[in-house]
Each structure stands twice: as C-alpha cells, then as structure tokens.
C-alpha cells in the first residue's frame, strides 16, 4: 500500500436528528484549523437557509481537513449526508464514498430510532463505525448507560469511544485520533484507469455542472478526457480541486481523494449521482456498483398566487433544476389556478423543500396542489395514458381500467411496534408479504403497497405510531390494477379542478368528507353563502357550507386618524391579494395545501 493513501481518511457523520451532527462537524473543522474561528458560522456545512432553520442537510458539503498525528500529517475528508428517506439514494452514495462513519449518540438520550437506521445504512456500505458520545456537558448525560446501549442494541464496542461535548469543544482531539486509528485508509490503485464515484453535483453559473467525486482508482487532472459511464458522454477536464470547505483548485486528484471535477458540463442531468467517471481514452471495464436512475415519484401542480408571475415561476424552476437534476416540470393549466407547472419530486420532503426554496430564494408566492402519483389509464379504445394530474383523467365511460404504481416497502422496527405497523399498512391498502427478525431487537416487515398511499401521509403516521423508532425504504416495482375514482370538489356549484384527486373507491367517501370539513375551516366567510361539495362522477357524497359573512366594518371612532383607517383597509387588501379568485369565491392558498393534511387533526 502506498504511503500517500495511508494518510487519507474518508468518513461521514451519522446521527439521530439533534444529536449534534452539524455541531461536531463544525468543531472538527475548527480544531483542525481548516477554517479560522472568525470565519466560522454556526453549522458551517448546512449552507442553505432552509437547511439551517430546519436543522437538516439537503445538499452534501464535503470538507477536507488536515490533522497532525504522531508527527505525520493526515488528510481527513468529511462527507456530510442528508438525512431523509427522500434522499436515501444520495445518502447511500455518499456513504459509498467513505471508508468509515462517526456515529454520534447523545449521551443524555441514548440510542434513538435514527441512530439505528443510520447504522444499518452504514453497515450495508461496509463502513467502519466509530461511536462517539456527544453532549457530555449536559447534567442529564449518562455515559455508562449510553455505552451499554450502543453495545447491546447496536453491537459496537463502545468502551473506548470518545466522550465529547461538541458544543463546548471538549475531547474533540479524541475523535480525530480515533478517526486515524480506526477508520481504514483508502486502498485504491492510482496506476489503474480512472474510477471516480459522483456522490453529488451542483450547478455553477460560470463553471457549469460540478461533480463532487471520490476517486477509487487512477488520477485526474486538467486536460484529461473523461467519460460518464452511464450517459456515455465525454468531456475535457477544466478544473479539479478539493474542499477547504470552499472549493480550491489543485493540480491533480488521485485515488483515495475526495474533490471536485469541472469539465464545462452544460447540463446537471449529465452528472448523475451514483455514476462512475472514468477516463475516455483508457476506460475501466467495470463501473462502481450501486448506480440507480432516480425518478420522480410524487407529482404536484405549482402555480403562482399572482397569475402575472408565471414567467418568474418558470425562471425560478429552471434555475432550481440546474441545481437539482431530480426535479422535473412541465407546463399545466388549471381553470382555478391559471397557468402553472406540474412538477415531479423524489418524495414529499423534496417537494416541500422545492416549494420553500421557490418562496424564499425567489420570493414567489405559490400554490401547491395535492400530491399525486402517475397512473396508467387504459381507455376503452385501447389507448394508454399516463395521468399524473387528476383533472386530466378521462370520463369514466372511456376508462377500461386504471393501474397505479406499486412499491415494495420494507419497514424496520423494534418488535413491539409490529402490531401498530400492521394496522397502519392495512389502512393504507398494504399487502403483507413477509416478516423477518434481523436480530432480537429488530424486525423487517415487507409489504406491497400502492405508492399513492405512501406519499399521502404514511411517513408521518409511521413515525407517530412507533415513536419514531421505525424506519423504512421502498422501491417501485410495477403497476397494478385498482378500483380508483376521481374525487371532485365543487365550490359554489362549480368543480374546482385544482382540488380534484384520484383515490381508491373504498376511501373516497371518508376523504370527501374530510376535505369538505377541512375546506370549511380554511375558506373565510364571503359576502354570500358558499356550499362545498365533494362528489364522485356527479354524485355528491359530502357537503359543508361556509355561511355568509356578516361583519366586516370599522364602526369605531378614530377621530381625524384617517390614515389609520386607510392603513387597516390596505392591510386587508394585501391579504386579499393572496387569495385566489375561483368564480366568485375567494380561496386562500392554504385551501389547496390543507387537503394534503386531512389526517393531521385526528
């Protein structure tokens, strides 16, 4: 083994939410002097506002650190990982880029659901796991109990694990030492042909798409001809470099290194996460394992609140797409919402993040319709349509059958929640396939389930019924015929297409009732009575009424303070601008979102 690679450690940090992942990352960066104290901002690696606020990591940010150990200088590459099931593919790719993982456990809380789920992910990728107890500064910290939990539940030796306080910077050195002692170094061959894993990519306005890579074999430098093994496209490298954590150009990247490659790549979609980069002249025969095509599974309409902002929305989506190749969108028209886009997402969180970024980074007010999946609709004339927008469903008389996407679902859980999960999956039209004890404390339950049920509120329900201990993964395996109907919502006698949804026949009544009740709560009283009706194929199955508004008047004496009167009115007017005019009914944008969340209140 060459000496150079023996001085490199590639690792990631995994943890349950709030156990201090980002804080520890910050301390490591600070301790190694990678970034001066002055430049440190809280949670350095979560650079997007949304990431910082929600305390989640969406985009991956690698960092290269230097650490002196026994007189030798080591390079430590930290690869941050996103933490949600929507991005589990990205997580698996960034784990695949490492040799080891630091597993943080909050010493005051012990092993939690996410701790276990993440450990399994890391073990699946053959990573060396280094447990670290954090928050030992808290009075409630119980180090011995935590160590025992790690040993009993996870089965890792925790006796010598570092006990730190990332917040107060206590014992951070121990972590660095153990990274070097315990995590294996890369074992690639720089003389072989290039083999680099893309674990993330992003778009830069000047440099084009930038690939974040881990080199397994070979080297890469400016001028090299490279090839993406999946897309088979070739490029000439214009820049290579490392993360400090800002990108810094270097001459060459060699096997074992983590860095970035720019090659005037115009389209982010050509730098697919999980793909292998090799040399165009001397390609490797085998790509790195594990590549998967990521496809959108959840679809939803996005419309500007102010119809005139359609162009702005289009620009914003195009810009986001540059940065997020998994986002797909196409124009859509709705009678209720005007012009907008049907967008495809990796999952519900992905959808939330995109909508939030549209609102924050682009300052747009948008309306999102209920998420839907893509159905295969077979017409009586033999034609097959792919329908992801409920309002595009043909009339019942023309439909031969409808097929919906099905998933194979694995739920991992401690055994005591098996009953609760079975109930939940049954509610969600899941078909039980198998259950296995992975070990005494962990069961995997396998189900077949319609994807549509999964995207609705399955994840939240699962978490709440298992106190957060269950985790899941799923993959789409095909389509299956199902008794599906279109549920329409009529407001003041007119069908509001943006509120339509496709649902299973047996659930239509309950959902129709729920939605009508929910809409009654969110639609403000208007100058006239507004009936809300839920119907299936013209048959009304639920009705609620928003009674007419009686009072909206300033009948108070404000003397000569007419400005105040006018300002109150202007405030009201601004509020109205956020409303959507549907026929003569004014709808707040919450009305469209609220139907997503009908189960919340119960």
């Amino acid at each position: 083994m060459d000496d150079r690679q023996s001085k490199i450690r590639n690792f990631c940090i995994i943890a349950h939410i709030d156990h201090g992942k980002s804080t520890l990352a910050d301390r490591l960066i600070e301790m190694t002097g990678t970034v001066s104290k002055r430049e440190m901002s809280e949670q350095l690696l979560d650079s997007m506002d949304i990431e910082r606020e929600r305390g989640i990591t969406i985009k991956l940010t690698p960092t290269r650190m230097f650490y002196n150990y026994n007189g030798d200088e080591y390079i430590l590459n930290l690869i941050d990982t996103p933490g949600h099931v929507d991005f589990s593919y990205e997580v698996s790719r960034s784990l695949a880029a490492c040799e080891g993982a630091i597993l943080i456990v909050d010493a005051s809380q012990g092993v939690e659901a996410q701790t276990i789920a993440n450990t399994y992910l890391a073990l699946d990728n053959n990573l060396e796991i280094l447990p670290v107890l954090n928050k030992i500064d808290l009075p409630s910290a119980n180090i011995e109990k935590c160590k025992k939990e790690i040993e009993d539940i996870i089965g890792l030796d925790a006796q010598n694990c570092p006990c730190v306080s990332a917040k107060d910077g206590i014992n951070i050195d121990d972590v660095l030492k153990q990274i070097i002692e315990k995590i294996p170094c890369p074992k690639g061959d720089e003389n072989k042909s290039l083999k680099a894993l893309i674990f993330d990519s992003y778009y830069d306005n000047f440099k084009g798409a930038i690939c974040f890579v881990r080199l397994f074999d070979g080297t890469v430098k400016i001028g090299d001809k490279i090839k993406m093994m999946k897309t088979e496209k070739s490029y000439e490298v214009t820049e290579v470099g490392v993360f400090c954590p800002a990108m810094r150009q270097t001459e060459v990247l060699k096997s074992g290194d983590v860095g970035y490659i720019c090659a005037s790549i115009k389209n982010l979609a050509d730098t697919k996460v999980g793909d292998t980069i090799t040399s165009a002249l001397n390609p490797t025969s085998e790509p790195l394992p594990g590549y998967k095509e990521v496809q959108p599974v959840v679809f939803s309409g996005i419309f500007p609140v102010d119809g005139a902002k359609y162009g702005d929305l289009k620009d914003a989506l195009e810009k986001l797409k540059l940065n997020d190749a998994s986002l797909v969108f196409m124009p859509e028209t709705s009678t209720a919402l005007g012009f907008g886009f049907r967008c495809g997402f990796l999952g519900l969180l992905h959808m939330e993040i995109i909508t939030e970024r549209l609102e924050r980074e682009f300052d747009l007010d948008i309306i999102t319709t209920a998420p839907s999946v893509s159905y295969h609709v077979y017409k009586t004339n033999g034609e097959m349509l792919e329908v992801s927008n409920p309002s595009m469903l043909p009339p019942i008389s023309e439909i031969e059958k409808i097929e919906e996407p099905m998933i194979k679902l694995n739920v991992y859980t401690p055994p005591q929640y098996v009953g609760a999960i079975m109930n939940l999956c049954q509610d969600k039209r899941g078909v039980f396939e198998d259950m296995q004890y992975l070990e005494k404390t962990r069961v995997v339950m396998k189900y077949q389930m319609p994807l549509a049920e999964m995207i609705y509120d399955f994840f939240d329900s699962l978490k709440s019924r298992t106190k957060g201990y269950a985790s899941l993964d799923y993959e789409i395996f095909g389509f299956k015929q199902s008794e599906l109907v279109k549920l329409d919502i009529m407001l003041n006698g007119e069908t509001c297409d943006a509120l339509s949804l496709i649902t299973h026949k047996d659930k239509a009544y309950a959902r129709g009732r729920q939605i009508a009740e929910k809409l009654k709560k969110v639609i403000p009283r208007q100058l006239f009575e507004v009936p809300i009706q839920a119907c299936i194929g013209g048959k009304i199955i639920a009705r609620e009424t928003v009674s007419a508004m009686r009072k909206d008047v300033l009948a108070k004496c404000y003397g000569g303070d007419i400005s105040r009167k006018r300002k109150l009115l202007e405030k009201q007017k601004a509020g109205k601008k956020r409303m959507r005019q549907f026929g003569s009914v004014e709808l707040p944008s919450e009305a469209f979102i609220s139907i997503l969340k009908t189960d919340d209140d119960e």
């Binding site: 009072k551 300033l554 009948a555 003397g559 007419i562 006018r566």
Partner: protein, 370 residues
C-alpha cells in the same frame, strides 16, 4: 383659501375605561397645566389669520375632566390665531360624571354650541363591566342639565357589543335617550383591541360579549328602529334628526382640511397628513410633530372611496373620474356583482351601499378600491 377645521385633543381622564386604547392618561394637575401651556403654544405656532375655521371639536380623553378655564384659554387662542366663523360648530366631549351646571354654563358662555356625551349605555350592569364610572341616573341627569344650560345640539355615544348586552337592552337605552330628546347618536361597535383590560378579561373567559354576528344583527335592528323614530343614519356610526348632522365629522369624510392640536392628534393640510407624538411627555418637552405623510393620488382616491361609501351620500363616479379613477370601467365586474347581489345601488352617478349591507362595508369597499 378654503375653510379648515380644528381638532383639539385633551388626553386626560379620571379613570381608564376597560375597553379604551385611545391616547388618554390619568394625570396630576402639574402635568395638565404643562400640557395646556404646550397646547396653546402649538396653536399659536400654527397661527394663520387668512384661515377661516368652520368647526372645532374638542375631544379626548375626557375634556370635561379638566378645569374648564383651560378650555376657555384654548378657544381664546384659536380665536387669536385664526378667523373663527360666526356660525362655526364647536363641539366638546363630556363625561356624565365630570359635568356640572357650572361647567356647562361656562362652555355655553365661551361659544361651545354642541355637546357630545359619552353615555355608552344606560344599563348599570353593562356600564360597570366596561369600567365606566357613571350610572344610568347620572347620565340622564347630565343630559337634562345640558338642556337646561341651553344646549340644543346634544349628541350621545352608544356602544354596541358590550358585555351583557341584548338587543332589548340596547333598545331600552336608545328609547330613554330619544325620550331625552337627544339630536344625534354615535353608535360604535366595541372593538376588542389588544392589551385593553376588557380584552384580557374576555380572553380569560371572565366575561363574554355578544358575537360579531350578533353585533351586526343589533346594528341593523337599531338602524330600523332609529329610522322609525325619525333619526336617520348619515354615516356608518352616526345617526341624527334632520339638520343635526355633525359638520365636523362630515368634514373628515369629504377630505376637508383640518388641524389637529395636542398629543396624538392628526392634521390634514395641503395633501399632507401629520400625526403628533402619542407620548405626552415627548409632547410636553419636545417637538410635537412626529410623522408626516404625503397623500399620493392613489391614496386620496382610496380615502375618497372608503370614506364616501361609509356615508349615506355615497360616492360620485364623476368626482372619482376627475381624480383619475374611472371606477365604472376599472371595476366593471365587481360593480355588477355587487349590484346584482344587492350590496350596492347605483343611481344617476352615485354609488351607495344598500341600507342592510353596512355590516360588510369593508368587504364592499375593498372590492371597489383601485
């Protein structure tokens, strides 16, 4: 030069009512003395002998709770600083508790010709619950004294939506007031402003008030009842016998220019809206003007529509056109929707809110703003 009006704010009260979030203070005599010195200075500072004053409104707070001599000095100063028209309407707000024959006689002598009593209700239980210090008997007595002292133009404030109110009780109050031959009624709906004692009590569920819907029902019934007694509505909150419309109020609604003197007072002069500081000590010790706002054309149109629609006179389409807003063209759909659903009427060139739809006036106004 057009006529202007004057509003004078007397921020003092003997006690703070539970629902009040106005600019008012319970203060000692030294503060009062200093305040009036500054007030006189402010009036003097604005002196303009070319300006004719068509109305003066002395409001509060409770102007009647201060030594009546102060009021005299203010009128004196106004007469010195401006040309007070001989037929000017001069109103003072009074509290039943703090009025007596001596004060009222004095007010009459110095030229005040309209009095407005803060009666709110003649139901003793309700009065107590909102922190008013007078009772029904004192209120009636005060009105009688005012009449004895020669005041004919008597106005009363009545609140809709106070604790324990039912329409019957409200009607009883109104009936008694009509019997006392008051000429003008201002009927306000109680607004539970944040941070008032009453709002806190409501939030803590110690007390309950009629619902908003009920208040509007009361209001609409009240309108009909008053009409049957030949007391007509001329603005959302204002009702009077023929010929007793408040000139000062109408001035506000027709965008007339006015000076506002005193703490927290507002002025409207040559398209500028001024507001004085709401901090009495700042007012006394520092400069009183704190904010100035130029009224844009659009804001002027907004105010014209907002204020006009609140009155029985409505808004004239041609006037709006002159201001640069062609409402019949710009708001065609909204107007026809509102007419078809009987929210407004359009006769000749005037748009008015239908009699029974004042309860949702804001919604209607919002639809018609540019």
């Amino acid at each position: 030069m057009n006529d202007r009006m004057i509003y004078v704010h007397i921020p003092f009260c003997d006690s703070k009512c539970y629902y009040c979030n106005f600019c008012s203070f319970v203060s000692n005599d030294i503060v009062k003395k200093k305040y009036f010195e500054k007030l006189i200075k402010e009036i003097e500072h604005n002196s303009n002998k070319t300006v004719k004053i068509s109305s003066i409104y002395i409001g509060g707070g409770t102007p009647s709770c201060v030594d009546e001599k102060f009021i005299g000095e203010i009128l004196q100063q106004i007469k010195k600083s401006f040309i007070l028209k001989s037929n000017a309407e001069i109103t003072i707000e009074l509290n039943p508790c703090s009025t007596n024959i001596k004060k009222l006689k004095y007010y009459k002598e110095i030229g005040i010709n309209r009095v407005s009593f803060g009666i709110q209700s003649l139901n003793n239980k309700s009065l107590k619950l909102i922190g008013r210090k007078h009772n029904s008997k004192q209120a009636k007595m005060a009105i009688k004294i005012a009449k004895k002292c020669g005041f004919d133009n008597i106005s009363v404030d009545v609140l809709i939506g106070i604790p324990k109110q039912s329409f019957l009780k409200l009607k009883t109050t109104i009936k008694k007031l009509i019997k006392l031959n008051v000429k003008h009624l201002s009927c306000y709906m109680l607004i539970n402003e944040p941070n008032t004692k009453l709002t806190k009590m409501i939030n803590q569920k110690k007390i309950s008030v009629p619902s908003e819907d009920k208040c509007v029902i009361f209001y609409n019934k009240l309108f009909k009842y008053l009409k049957s007694k030949k007391i007509f509505r001329y603005e959302i909150s204002n009702f009077c016998k023929k010929g007793y419309e408040c000139i000062h109020n109408i001035g506000y609604w027709t965008l007339k220019e006015y000076y506002g003197f005193g703490v927290g007072a507002h002025s409207f002069i040559s398209n500028q809206r001024y507001s004085n500081t709401e901090n009495i000590f700042d007012y006394i010790n520092c400069d009183y003007n704190c904010e100035k706002e130029n009224l844009s054309d659009r804001e002027k149109i907004e105010e014209f529509i907002m204020l006009g629609l609140r009155t029985k006179y409505g808004i004239n389409i041609l006037d709006l056109k002159k201001m640069g807003f062609d409402i019949t063209k710009e708001k065609k759909d909204d107007i026809s929707f509102l007419i078809n659903n009987k929210f407004i009427t359009q006769k000749d060139d005037v748009i008015k809110i239908c009699e029974n739809k004042y309860g949702v006036a804001n919604q209607i106004i919002l639809k018609l703003l540019p």
